[in-house]
Symmetry: C2
Subunit: 519 residues, 2 copies
């Protein structure tokens, strides 16, 4: 039995049930407002003039306030109550059941939050973001610290409103990855840390130095842009339903349907992989959103099911495919055509090795596949202590550096490259672990793909990746938010998340690349 | 007494009156939602992928529906009732009074429209726009005709809901230019038509041919973009509160405050004035919006007071300044630096004459200052007949061509350059006359400016236009929607709108340019 046979069709919501239709009538305008809120975020990141921050903050707050009113509408609660007594019956399908489940979840969550708390959170988020920007400009954590302190307090309060079984941090994790707990993260991360640390030591001990000169130099931005767009097209990203724009930090955004899924990147002239890999990464997110069944549009099911599963799609395309030898066998001639001078005397092996240099570094977004997860674990440890424990915010820069020395053997000489490097904490806690989850999911999915396609590398090296996209669409993408992450990954790969696939993947890949003999 | 002395300070809304504050609390979120609606329009014109039309239509409809609910909130009516009994007293200022007046106007209008009518109008508008696009692609008016028919019916219905003194068309005119009526437009247009037609005949009879070779050819878009941005900066457009983007049709948009006022243009490589003049035109709109007092933000007073006054600002910068000899005395060297090859052997006189070629043409947006208003009068006549009379939609292409022959002596051989050329009728009727009103206002304002600054041309030729901007800010811009158009123009120029200033302006200017002797 192949895994494909387990893929089921996404059913339309039951048309002849008045309660389902009534629920949709409540939910769709809500999702329209959420999409408008996303549009405001998009605008802020790509188009808003610098001086316009204040008025747009008011507009966002007004929208949040209207959203909160509608999310907590008692009539919505009444329809849910009614549907929940019958939804298990055969008269309803998986789409109906997921619609009720997800609407209930967000209804209950919204009802738990008093409106002043929602408004305060929105205000603190804006102020905190501005303080973070200023703190980075001045390399001064003290500017950001009071707002971070405020965010910690609000996030603890949020956890108390939502409730949790073991620790407050669990409540936050659950908002990004449904069902995730601190103890589960610890259990998944421990073997990854052991394996990564050991592998890193062996690589460092090998004394092998990777030649990265082929990917550093000057790569004209117009050519990079053309290359990125071409590769996106090749991997199946639909430019009729999106396009690649520019912003300070790369991201993917959608608006409640697969019809409009936009990507951004930032172009870096001196180091090719920075932009190229970021675009393929966002492309992976984009393919996921564009592949969600159209019938789920304007409902809470019309997006990726969780951040971990979402990140698995970006990581799979960025790392497991686009940092592999086979992938570039199919794409290297195109790259050479775009940058003939730079790659005239560089062979494929040298180029692929340059894409896979392993080296402890200070900046998470520039890290290789082995050290990346160590950056995440540092953040995970610190977040737990900030939310569950009693760490003083003032001691954070010191704590950050101590952890970097412990995990990676290096530490930053300034705060911009240290504790101020990520914007995530202007928003909240519990997000970072999903990045590593994405790596683990991606390796497990790729393992299944390789089992389903024994000629995987040969197919990949032909340059045609449509067999991967088709499999992902059928087994992951189309479902959107219908199945919970655990169910989805079990359905697609036959088991729940297991870090061994990732460990085997990095051990084998980097063992070969660095010519390591078995320890 | 100079006109400057009449300028008054814009007062903040009365802070210690609970009713005014309560009104603001109702109005501000309403304006936030209006701004979000503008953001969706901006996005649709500059960033939305082609395939995303349907979902964004739903989002816009949801927003319109929420807006209509809030605009017709009886509590808003109650606050207005209460305030109207006391607002004339000295306890209140002009800002307060205008806030009550404008909120009352939109409250009453919104209450007059049944919700199904609002929703139907929104749907027909989207469908009509799509049909117009398709009709243009296929050069087939019949595709657009049924939607135009539907729009006419809805616009008549709208006029009946709003009410009017003389004709239905008056109700529509009033929505764009408060207080404007058909008979007033006729009275203003008649002498303009007579003078323009006579002047056009004299120019054609003179046999003089203008050499436009200097402004046709190839003008690299990157250089045009640089030039346009530089000129915008020079005339005082604030790039911290806006910027120049691209779209299919040039436009200016703002979001309820002077902090975010964006412009767009389309670059045409073969004909320099097309883009350059369009950008200065949008710049004029932008300067107006950026100059509105900050204290009016997030209220109905935070935009231009009427389309006619708005258009006066764009026309003043585009035509009365940037098509003048004096303006280019100050800017020609910059233009030459940007396009050295093209202007190496062209003297200033030849260039300015090329900018002012008079020639009957089919396309409104490409028309010169004399024939432009004839294009508008054709549309005004047709609109009146469509709304007040009984013209069959099917006969429109024929009617259009007949009027073009009558007014301009030419007619289109296809529908794209004829009846299908403007998108305005996908939206409604009554907009076009404000373009000519803008020309008349601009000439009257410039007359006052010249009286206030006897050394007007000398100042202009120095390249520094800040004296014009300062005067406009003080006498027009800062007030936003506080004073009704008639009051504002009287306050700024000493009298209500009078077409004689425009007639004198074109007669003198083109008489000189074409070497005409007094008739």
């Amino acid at each position: 039995m192949t895994t494909q046979s387990q893929a089921r069709e996404v059913r339309d919501f039951t048309a002849n049930d008045a309660r389902i239709q009534s629920l949709l009538e409540h939910v769709r305008p809500l999702m329209d407002l959420t999409a408008l809120s996303a549009l405001a975020v998009w605008d802020q990141s790509t188009a808003m003039p610098r001086g316009a921050g204040v008025v747009h903050m008011h507009q966002a707050a007004t929208l949040q306030s209207i959203l909160h009113d509608r999310q907590t509408d008692p009539r919505l609660g009444a329809i849910l109550d009614e549907l929940e007594t019958v939804i298990a019956s055969d008269a309803f399908n998986d789409s109906d059941r997921a619609l009720v489940r997800e609407t209930r979840l967000s209804y209950d969550r919204a009802c738990k939050l008093p409106r002043p708390f929602v408004e305060e959170t929105s205000r603190v988020r804006s102020a905190s973001f501005n303080a973070w920007i200023e703190a980075r400009e001045k390399n001064d954590f003290k500017i950001f610290a009071p707002w971070l302190q405020r965010t910690i307090a609000l996030q603890r309060e949020l956890a108390d409103y939502y409730g949790y079984a073991e620790t407050r941090y669990d409540a936050l994790l659950d908002t990004y990855e449904p069902g995730l707990t601190t103890s589960r993260v610890e259990q998944l991360f421990a073997p990854v840390r052991t394996a990564s640390t050991a592998l890193l030591r062996r690589i460092q001990d090998s004394g092998r130095v990777v030649d990265t000169s082929s990917v550093t130099g000057t790569f004209a931005i117009a050519q990079q842009e053309e290359l990125c767009n071409r590769i996106l097209r090749t991997i199946g990203y639909d430019f009729n339903r999106g396009y690649l724009s520019r912003s300070e930090h790369p991201f993917t955004i959608s608006f409640g349907s697969p019809y409009d899924v936009r990507l951004t990147t930032r172009y870096e002239e001196q180091y090719l992989p920075m932009t190229l890999m970021a675009v393929i990464h966002e492309g992976g997110h984009g393919l996921y959103e564009q592949g969600i069944a159209e019938t789920l549009s304007r409902t809470p099911l019309a997006g990726g099911v969780s951040l971990g599963i979402h990140e698995s799609q970006s990581r799979l395309w960025e790392n497991l495919l686009a940092r592999s030898h086979a992938f570039w066998q199919g794409h290297y001639s195109g790259l050479r055509e775009t940058f003939p001078t730079q790659f005239e005397h560089v062979d494929l092996d040298t180029y692929v090795r340059a894409l896979n240099q392993v080296q402890p570094s200070l900046i998470r977004v520039k890290a290789d596949e082995i050290t990346y997860n160590l950056h995440i674990m540092i953040r995970f440890e610190i977040e737990k202590e900030l939310i569950n424990g009693n760490v003083a915010v003032e001691s954070l820069p010191e704590l950050w550096n101590a952890r970097y020395r412990e995990y990676l053997g290096i530490s930053a000489s300034n705060e911009v490259d240290g504790v101020l490097q990520d914007m995530h904490w202007t928003n909240g806690f519990g997000y970072f672990p999903t990045y590593t989850l994405g790596n683990l999911y991606a390796a497990q999915i790729t393992h299944t793909l390789r089992r389903s396609f024994p000629d995987f590398d040969a197919r990949l090296s032909s340059g045609d990746t449509s067999f991967v996209l088709n499999w992902l669409r059928e087994n992951i993408h189309q479902y959107g938010g219908i199945y919970r992450p655990d169910d989805l990954i079990k359905q697609a790969t036959g088991e729940v998340l297991n870090s061994q696939y990732f460990i085997s993947y990095i051990t084998e890949k980097f063992g070969k690349l660095y010519g390591l003999t078995e320890a």
